[in-house]
């Protein structure tokens, strides 16, 4: 039994460094993606019909096609451009690096999903609250700060939490498409690498899965606490609003 525990512990340690790559991919993509998604959501919700349609088209394209295909397609395009653009410009090493292309592809994808979430939220910001802000002489920026943003983020939070967890899971696709550089391996790639050595599928893939599971639970927990805090203004007595999660595992 101690033998098994030791093996398991050793395995868990092995996956620690690879997990950092998944965390890196998710964190960078989500941070950049969120900012861009706010812009796309506002573009989608805006009065200008051309801008709104462009935003809608972007969202539709990236939500309508599998992420897996987006990875392959985008990587192929980047490869094709490598000879004509990146290498002559001398930026091939950076631009073609998985640590660059990985987040780039994920950003394009999460922008679409997050923008759709935020756009939906934007449309349900209470009209009366907006009107009160206008009636008090607030500028568009002040209205955004006082009413739009606080409402939007609260409405969007449960769905966005699922998006964060999904993005983290989606990082498993990065090295399925992109080449491994040196020993820069993520969880998924490490599991496959170890599996090919000793065919111990159960051990390697369950520990890999365990990492995804534990980190996801951590995200749910932290985001759930933030949500409770954000929604405390609705807690009349004890009936606090709680997050309900329904993650989508396929897209």
């Amino acid at each position: 039994m101690t033998g098994f525990a030791e093996t398991l512990w050793a395995e868990i340690l092995i996956f620690f460094r690879p997990a950092l790559f998944n965390i890196y991919f998710a964190a960078v993509s989500l941070a950049i993606g969120f900012v861009l998604a706010v812009a796309v959501a506002f573009a989608r919700n805006g009065k200008n019909p051309i801008v709104s349609h462009l935003a809608a088209g972007y969202i539709y394209a990236f939500r309508g096609s599998p992420l897996f295909i987006q990875f392959f397609m985008f990587y192929s395009i980047m490869l094709a451009l490598n000879a004509v653009w990146w290498r002559p410009l001398g930026i091939s090493g950076v631009v073609m690096h998985p640590l660059f292309i990985g987040p780039l592809t994920l950003v394009m994808n999460t922008v679409a999903y997050t923008a759709e979430i935020l756009y939906g939220a934007l449309r349900t910001v209470p009209r009366g609250e907006l009107e009160a802000a206008r009636a008090h002489g607030m500028s568009p920026l002040q209205i955004f700060r006082t009413v739009t943003w606080p409402n939007m983020i609260r409405i969007a939070w449960p769905a966005y939490t699922n998006e964060v967890v999904f993005m983290f899971h989606a990082t498993a696709l990065v090295y399925l498409t992109l080449p491994v550089v040196g020993n820069q391996r993520d969880i998924m790639n490490t599991a496959r690498f170890l599996f090919e050595r000793d065919y111990n599928a159960i051990l390697h893939f369950s520990v890999a899965g365990l990492y995804f599971l534990v980190i996801s639970m951590l995200v749910f927990f932290v985001f759930g606490r933030i949500y409770e805090r954000m929604m405390r203004h609705l807690s009349v007595n004890q009936d606090r609003p709680r997050l309900r999660f329904a993650p989508k595992y396929i897209r």
């Binding site: 009107e131 206008r134 405390r232």
Partner: protein, 255 residues
Amino acid sequence: MQSILTINEVHKSFGDLEVLKGVTLSAMRGDVVTLIGSSGSGKSTLLRCINMLEVPNSGTVAIDGEEIALTGRGPDRRPSDANQIRRIRSEIGMVFQSFNLWAHMTVLENVMEAPLRVQKRPERDVRADAEELLDKVGIADKANAFPAQLSGGQQQRAAIARALCIRPKIMLFDEPTSALDPELEIEVLRVIKMLANEGRTMILVTHDMKFAREVADKVVFLHQGRIEEEGTVDAVFSSTQSDRLRQFLRAADHT
């Protein structure tokens, strides 16, 4: 004496529906004007034209002698000077039928928000003002509560305090008690009456004829987008020649 509010020949349409068909109305400083009329007669729209929440298709609105600058024609008409419209709005307090408090902010934060952010007054001043106003409307103990934790009557009184805290020249009320249960209505009406007695300038839309009669210096009866009758309480309620107004008052009596 100069009038503090002048509405001149205001027309307003929504698409093909002409809601206001040339309304001219003025109020002197300290006047309490009550606006009555059946549902759909354009009372809310008229009130919202005063602070340009709705922009009239034609006609003008002047506050304290200053005409609100508008540009464009018909449905494309809009305020031409963003600074002017914001300044004028921040001199007009508005109280809505559905309170429209900012739900994620405490009562005190609601009351302090516009004076701090729009009028850029110092926080200490604003806080003192806000606390005094909450005391005045009788919800000092709810300063740190959130709107959802208050009764409807308390929420509306918070909204009144919020409107008062900008030190408005004019207060607009759009059926402030019609979303409330009768027993909660009383506390809000008491506050509004107190404000009327202080000599504040108010334009009040109400379906409560008894209350309209009690507080008004001037009563305006709107019918299908036109002013059908206006005058003192006596002139309008007792000695009107208008059949429509009599009919309206008879119907209102039975509700």
